[in-house]
């Protein structure tokens, strides 16, 4: 909402310091976004009179003018404009003047003839033909204003208003009007606000002979007032009115249309004017649109209507979309004779839905959708009548049609000063509260507050508390401390998140944040099979684009994207992690599950399969999870992403038979899909599932009292035999005295037969009760050799 300060002064006359006004209104709740004084970027431009206009001696298209600028001697200016003649009054940019757009004018010579400034067009002053309809666009602006030679152009053409831009919140449609903001201004400064009381004389005539109005849907139209103006004289509005519209950001059109806009800006009540000639059957029906109906709106666009939309129709067809925009066909034209004024009240939700569906939000719909009281219709139309007579542009019938099936009563709220003070934490005397409330038009009587009709937002004592606080001053509220003991702590899931974050950063991983929505194409990029259940994502009905159209069912493609991006930025290595959610659809109409996942991505440096496995192992260690089993990632391993990994270099980690992580080298095809030209590795850990696995407490194990016995063992086995199988055999064979089993060599090649490998372990054995004898250790090794031998492993 842009407010003209001149207009404000009509209602609350004060000597305003604009900056302070903006601050003070912001502090009582009408937030100012900024302000602009018209013509403030124009300097040293004055009204001049052309004394003579003669052709330029060296040019066919230039003329030389002698101009009286009110400084005694006339000055000489050369111009290329064709529309000037002696006697014209024009804007003159003097030597050293500024024009909008950073243009600076200095004296100089044009084709050898001295020119001491510039004659200005509308455009050069930042104006358009709408501001001064009598002027031409492509020529010098010949002033028809009542002004003096030498006068500053700003004051001469009324470019000295200040326009303040407000951010009006959706609960205060009353402040989308000059009067509403004037009320707030008066209340802010403790001044009395005189409610306007528009008056008109009218001419005799029975409107019911001219037109009939039927509200067919009383739920969506709570009131409809029709007025009739005969013998209108369409033309431009007077300057003061055009200036007001301009300062409010509305384009002047013609006097009748301008009046409806003026009233909307002043009262906040949208109005409409129809050309009575085009209202077929002289009937106005407020009804729902019929299937298949359409209308060409004032902006010249054909709009398809649907039955939930409310329209204003004549006997045949819609002539306006109720509360949104009028029809082109029945709009005011230069030859319009009789005009029907509409001041009506339409249901906000309905207007909002219609405007959204038609894709046109107008000044009118923006006001209706916030809710306007039907009692606003009457003062608005009376003001329109008053303006018609003031502008002398038509004859207003002294009767009007007012369809108002269910007039509402003023709202009433209990006046509870003690509660308000308890609620706010203040000690404001009740009389002071009454004073604040009366300033904004509330009436307090016998413990009841009567709410003025235009304050649709006031329903409860909390609303009253806000009104009191606003004028008491929010900044007079002293801070107090919360009382009582609060026992705050992190939940186990939050503790786990923080542990994972510190483990990952300690392992050299950088955290990333990626979008939760992805393109369905990402599933192709990570080679998900066509029938993968991971392709069943939660879909966004109205996405910004395909790239962000589904909620991811796997965190891994986002990680691959980031790896690719860093690779493209030529970052030589990357070690990344993300703690993010996946969104797994459940049943129709229910919310998806949002399990938390840890994604890891690595390329470059000394990374290989085992370094990524090492990261995964270290994370489990940080969480005190021991006994993790690793198996090749294949088949039904609990992860749908196996196809994005190298089949021979990917694994699944499990604890107690539950698969909790997948990791490995990214499949070469997937790397190619992402344009990553180096080997890269990824891992995904099911964080939500970890919560059930993590041991609750750690227990201390006494340090060993007796020495250990160490034995090494080396063997040759099939290349295909997993080391984990050998480890299991050894562990079982040795039994509880095995303290540590570590692999120290795997060898293939010379001296080892094709398809075989040599594997060597070191065993540390210890008894907790006594020193382990050599015999005991040797016996254990004998068991190991026997166990291994039984599976065809050749112990060396």
């Amino acid at each position: 909402m842009d407010l003209s300060v001149k207009w404000l002064k009509d209602y609350v006359d004060r000597d305003y310091d604009i900056k302070k006004l903006c601050y003070d209104l912001t502090m009582t709740g009408s937030k100012v976004e900024g302000y602009e004084t018209e013509g403030e970027n124009i300097k040293n431009v004055v009204v001049g009179k052309l004394l003579s206009v003669v052709p330029h001696e060296n040019s066919d298209h230039l003329v030389v003018c002698q101009v009286d600028v009110g400084k005694g001697e006339p000055i000489q200016i050369v111009t290329g404009a064709q529309n000037v003649k002696a006697g014209d009054i024009v804007p003159v940019a003097l030597d050293g003047s500024d024009l909008p757009g950073g243009v600076h004018i200095k004296k100089g010579k044009l084709r050898g003839v001295e020119s001491n400034g510039m004659l200005c067009s509308l455009g050069e002053l930042g104006l358009t033909k709408h501001d001064f309809p009598y002027a031409i666009e492509d020529g010098i602006f010949i002033l028809q204003e009542d002004c003096k030679i030498g006068q500053d152009i700003q004051s001469a053409i009324g470019l000295n208003d200040t326009s303040i831009e407000f951010e009006i919140t959706s609960n205060r449609p009353d402040c989308l009007s000059v009067i509403g903001l004037a009320r707030e201004t008066a209340a802010t400064y403790g001044m009395k606000f005189e409610e306007p009381n528009p008056q008109y004389k009218g001419v005799d005539g029975d409107i019911t002979e001219k037109i009939n109005v039927v509200i067919e849907n009383e739920k969506l139209c709570r009131r409809y007032i029709g007025g009739y103006v005969k013998n209108v004289r369409i033309g431009p509005s007077p300057r003061w009115l055009r200036e007001r519209l301009r300062a409010s950001g509305v384009r002047p059109i013609n006097n009748l249309v301008d009046i409806t806009n003026y009233v909307m800006l002043e009262y906040g009540q949208p109005m409409h004017a129809f050309d009575a000639r085009f209202i077929k059957g002289n009937e106005i029906h407020v009804r729902n649109a019929r299937e298949g109906e359409s209308i060409t709106t004032l902006d010249g666009t054909v709009r398809e209507l649907s039955p939930e939309m409310l329209v204003i129709a004549d006997a045949e067809k819609p002539v306006a979309v109720a509360g949104v925009m009028g029809g082109e066909y029945s709009g005011i034209m230069d030859d319009t004779v009789d005009v029907i004024f509409e001041s009506a009240s339409f249901d906000g939700a309905s207007v909002r839905r219609t405007a959204r569906k038609l894709g046109m939000r107008t000044d009118s719909s923006a006001r209706f959708e916030k809710g306007l009281d039907p009692r606003l219709c009457e003062p608005a139309i009376l003001r329109a009548f008053e303006l018609v007579e003031m502008l002398d542009c038509g004859e207003v019938l002294n009767t009007k049609i007012d369809r108002f099936p269910n007039p509402p009563k003023n709202g009433e709220v209990d006046f509870t000063p003690d509660w308000i003070n308890r609620f706010l934490g203040t000690d404001i005397p009740a009389e002071k509260m009454v004073e604040y409330l009366e300033r904004i038009g509330f009436k307090v009587n016998n413990g009841k507050i009567s709410v003025p009709y235009y304050r649709i937002d006031i329903e409860s004592k909390a609303d009253i508390a806000e009104e009191v606080a606003r004028f008491y001053g929010y900044n007079n509220l002293e801070g107090t401390d919360l009382r009582g003991v609060a026992n705050a702590k992190l939940t186990p899931a939050q503790v786990l998140t923080r542990k994972l974050e510190s483990a990952c950063t300690a392992l050299g991983l950088y955290e990333i944040e990626t979008f939760s929505f992805i393109s369905p194409k990402y599933y192709d990029k990570i080679n998900l099979p066509e029938n993968s259940s991971l392709r069943n994502s939660v879909k966004i009905l109205n996405p910004l684009g395909e790239d962000t159209s589904v909620m991811r069912t796997t965190v891994l493609p986002s990680m691959c994207e980031v790896l690719a991006r860093n690779y493209n930025y030529r970052n030589p290595e990357a070690k990344l992690f993300e703690l993010g959610s996946e969104y797994i659809p459940t049943v129709e109409g229910s919310l998806p599950e949002e399990p938390q996942r840890l994604a890891i991505g690595v390329y470059g440096g000394e990374s290989d399969f085992y370094s990524v496995k090492g990261i995964v192992e270290s994370i489990f260690e940080a969480l005190n999870i021991c006994d993790v089993d690793y198996a090749r990632a294949e088949g039904d391993c609990g992860f749908g992403e196996t196809a994005m990994f190298h089949p021979g270099r990917s694994a699944v980690a499990s604890v107690d038979g539950k698969n909790i992580a997948i990791f490995g080298e990214i499949h070469p095809d997937v790397l190619e899909n992402y344009g990553i030209g180096t080997k890269a590795y990824a891992a995904k850990i099911n964080v939500s599932e970890l919560l059930e696995i993590i041991p609750a407490e750690k227990t201390y194990k006494p340090l060993p009292k007796f020495p250990a016995a160490t034995r090494d063992i080396s063997m040759i086995c099939d290349d295909e035999t997993p080391v984990a199988t050998l480890e299991k055999l050894i562990k079982t064979a040795v039994g509880p005295i095995l303290e540590k089993l570590s692999l120290f060599d795997v060898y293939k090649g010379e001296q080892i037969a094709e398809g075989k490998k040599s594997v060597a372990f070191s065993l540390v054995m210890r008894s907790k009760d006594a020193t382990l004898t050599d015999d005991q250790a040797d016996a254990a090794m004998k068991r190991v050799r026997k166990a291994l031998g039984g599976t065809g492993v050749e112990v060396r």
Binding site: T26, S170, E369, G425, L477, A486, A506, F517, L541, F577
Partner: protein, 339 residues
Amino acid sequence: MKQALERIEQAAKKELSEIRDSKELEALRIKFLGKKGDLSAIMKDMAKLSAEERPVIGQIANKVRTDISEAIEKRAEELKAAASELKLKEERLDVTLPGRAPKLGKLHPLDSVMREIEDIFIGMGFDIASGPEVEYDYYNFEALNLPPDHPARDTQDTFYISDKILLRTQTSPIQVRVMEKKKPPIRIVAPGRVYRSDAVDATHSPLFHQIEGLVVDKGITMTDLVGISKMFIERLYGENLKIRLRPHHFPFTEPSAEVDMECFNCGGKGCSMCKGEGYIELWGSGMVHPKVLRNCGIDPEEYSGFAFGMGLERLVMRKYGITDLRLLYENDLRFLEQF
């Protein structure tokens, strides 16, 4: 014989001064003090001496032996010190060469600031609550006093999954879920991702983070909200920055207030960070609307509360002087390494 002993001592001391290393020193020790050494050779002649002379010469001989031993020991220490000095000198390193410690990773700036804020609130007795990002319209809007077709819904362009399910546009639905489950006293903050249908540019993102707070108890006042705002700013910025409250409107609070804080960059004088205002927006806040309490099964006659919420991205951008929001979601390592 006495002279012979003195000669030996002099010779030993002279040779000692020319010794270069421990090997030569050992040879010298053997030469003078060894079993077949010079001193021993002379001592063999002791028997020839008279009984009177023997103890005198014996004493002298012992002294010569002690003196030489001490001199050798002293020389040995000198040599050790020299050798050690030489070794230290040889082992001198270029200390400006880079270290070889394992490289630490870092948290994303959004996350590290979020943790900082969470910790401040935990210290003030707030639990951390969470809720689903794909949320029912009821929790995101209706229960928060935003019925269908409420005009304030326009300010939060919403991604819909169905007519009843959406991507939450704010963290406020978490408040509702907490209030439904827990009786007051309630003191929580709710951080998380929120979604709005804004195209990506330097200041907008369809996904961003909010952190929201809620306090409900008997006798909670608007001045308590002012108190918490001041305390939070003091903990986050460590200074006594002034705050300013402006009336505003949120459908789920009444009265509602925008809380501004004095610009930490210029101390209120006006700078580019606060766009010359001297103040920057901290959070939107207000007293929980009685309708919202009632929707959650809490009697507004018995309890009252306040809520506040802020966006994380803007706070992080201001903290680090980041001017383009897109950097936060691009995850370029050259960016992430800086925090």
